[in-house]
């Protein structure tokens, strides 16, 4: 399984991150909130941006902004070159066979909607089945629910075990006869890392395609789409040190070739007549309108930054920090409920928690006064919250700029909250 391989690599090869040096690259970490230093523990929602990313975007606007794929003049050609170079960086990051397999989208939500709209409408009719899981983010549920409503397709779900893993005991029966299997690589609520390669293999054995929601995976673990065996994989820039408004769908080129366009307009055509149009080649036929150019270039700079740290080193850092957090929080707060797998090696740096009967919103309000930023709510995963029997949790999540002092600050703030509501 891919996740296990990555962990082994992280254990033996990677150097520890120099968090102090990393922190100095993030201007926002110097900001004070409520007179306290910012303790940012909400990277699973959106990560902060290093100066290198901000500078790349500013430099582009200050020196070479023009529309891409259009002008025949120097700065337009340079803008196009930088935009397409960003695409190539994403392709290399996930070991795609070609940059033509990378379609820029707004985010993972748009990437999955693209697949549901374009591939789904072309290939799914009433009675066809799609297999999803109970731990999916709404982004990998609602597009399929919409298609089910419109087309009468059947949706099946892999349920969860008590400790927040996918229950694969019934997989053979569930996967039998489905056309697509769509699974998150890592739960944004529980941190569970799913056996993606195994699931992709099961999907292919059943004659189905495999779609991976990698929003929480690509930013944190070395990702090799060939090793994972996916057919579609979506990830987003703003969770991996890049700007908002830019993400991508990676898909096998032969699938993209067969799929009809998604949005129609400029940029996605090779010819337009008054009685019809001819779409552009992949991937541009899926990129209607002027794209977010500066954002793509910023995301390219984020990929450079992460590659510079080394994705194995990033993973090792997060496993160590998550181990520390699980021990520290459990020791300091015996009444704290932590959801998801107990073993740090089988989960990401995402910790959903509940403290006594204090509502997540009240908890995060008190944490805010200590400068500690956590997410409170249903995390866009309401079916999973129902499975857990809660309406909301507070969630702390880690990234390259977090260290043990952030976990300590969280623990102290939790004690404050207990005092306030106790």
């Amino acid at each position: 399984m891919a996740a296990v391989d990555h962990d082994r690599a992280a254990q033996v090869g990677a150097q520890p991150l120099d968090v102090k040096a990393i922190r100095s690259d993030f201007p926002i970490l110097d900001v004070e909130v409520n007179g306290r230093r910012l303790v940012y523990l909400d990277s699973a929602s959106s990560s902060q941006k290093p100066r290198q990313v901000l500078d790349a975007m500013t430099r582009y606007y200050e020196t070479t902004h023009a529309n891409v794929h259009r002008g025949v003049y120097a700065i337009a050609e340079e803008a196009t070159r930088q935009f397409e170079e960003a695409r190539a960086k994403l392709a290399r990051l996930v070991n795609a066979r070609s940059a033509r397999e990378i379609v820029f989208t707004k985010n993972v939500t748009e990437a999955i909607n693209l697949v549901a709209h374009s591939w789904g409408r072309r290939n799914l009719t009433a009675g066809d089945a799609v297999l999803l899981t109970e731990m999916e983010h709404h982004a990998n549920l609602v597009p399929w629910l919409m298609l089910a409503e419109e087309r009468g397709i059947e949706l099946r779900y892999i349920r969860l075990t008590a400790d927040g893993q996918l229950d694969l005991s019934d997989l053979d029966r569930l996967v039998d006869g489905v056309k697509l299997v769509g699974v998150t690589c890592m739960s944004n609520v529980l941190g569970t890392i799913n056996p993606v390669a195994e699931l992709a293999e099961a999907a292919h054995s059943a004659g189905a395609l495999f779609l991976a929601d990698a929003a929480q995976y690509v930013p944190h673990l070395a990702t090799d789409i060939q090793q994972l065996g996916c057919d579609f994989l979506g990830f987003t820039g703003h969770k991996m040190l890049g700007p908002t408004g830019i993400g991508c769908l990676w898909a096998r080129e032969d699938l993209l070739e067969e799929m009809p366009p998604f949005l129609g307009g400029g940029e996605m055509i090779s010819d337009v007549r008054l009685d019809g149009f001819l779409p552009a080649d992949v991937p541009w036929k899926f990129e209607a309108g002027t794209p977010p150019i500066a954002e793509a270039i910023g995301l390219g700079a984020a990929v450079d930054y992460l590659t510079g740290l080394g994705m194995d080193a990033v993973r090792r850092h997060e496993v160590e920090l998550t181990s520390y957090a699980l021990c520290k929080l459990a020791a300091d707060h015996p009444d704290l409920v932590i959801y998801g797998p107990a073993d740090p090696a089988s989960r990401g740096g995402v910790i959903s928690l509940a403290l006594g009967d204090i509502h997540a919103h009240d908890l995060s309000q008190v944490l805010d006064t200590a400068g500690v930023c956590v997410r409170a709510g249903h995390h866009c995963a309401k079916p999973l919250m129902r499975h857990l029997g809660v309406t909301a949790t507070a969630r702390a999540s880690f990234y390259v700029y977090n260290d043990e002092s952030d976990v300590d600050a969280l623990s102290e703030a939790l004690a404050e909250a207990r005092k306030f509501f106790g």
């Binding site: 409520n34 007179g35 509502h359 997540a360 919103h361 009240d362 309000q365 008190v366 006064t369 409170a376 709510g377 249903h378 309401k382 919250m385 309406t391 909301a392 306030f420 509501f421």
Partner: protein
């Protein structure tokens, strides 16, 4: 910067820990209304028994944060036994207190009732415990928590209006 004590006044925590009018009513004669806060998943179930233009009884079920639950509890105490018109006046006054983003308090209201008076120029009703929720205004994200029960009440009052014939 507003402190926690501005938000979590003692009376609010009291209503949170000891919610008033908690439970369910048989439907019919009561009617059942649901309100959701999609942001945090909080939900309010309101059982409203209206007879002769009067809120004879009401009960609150559901779950949520201290602000949404205490606001629901206070709302239930304030509205129980009131006429529909009195309940509507309270609703308007509460929304005025939360005013900032409640644009529904439309231009008409502002022209007629700029001085703490309701749309019809009537005196704003006494707010009692509800005044404690004033501090929520300093925490804009939480305004939706405080107004959840009241928006659900608004549904109920509209429903009661529908069944009450022309008025």
């Amino acid at each position: 910067m507003p402190g926690l004590e501005d938000l979590y006044r003692e009376i609010i925590l009291d209503h949170y820990r000891n919610p008033r009018n908690r439970g369910e009513l048989e439907c019919p004669p009561a009617h059942r209304y649901e309100g959701f806060n999609p942001l945090c998943g909080d939900e309010i179930v309101l059982y409203l028994d209206v007879r002769d233009e009067k809120v004879v009884d009401l009960k609150i079920a559901g779950q949520g944060c201290s602000i949404s639950q205490s606001s629901a509890s206070m709302m239930s105490s304030a509205v129980k036994g009131k006429t529909l018109d009195e309940a509507r006046a309270l609703l308007r006054a509460f929304k005025a207190m939360m005013s900032i983003h409640e644009a529904r308090l439309d231009a008409e209201d502002r022209e007629l009732g700029a001085n703490g008076q309701g749309a019809d120029g009537e005196e704003a009703p006494p707010m009692g415990d509800l005044e404690a929720l004033q501090g929520v205004v300093k925490f804009p994200v939480r305004i939706k928590c405080a107004t959840l029960a009241w928006n659900t009440l608004a549904q109920g009052l509209d429903g009661a209006n529908g069944s009450a014939g022309p008025s």
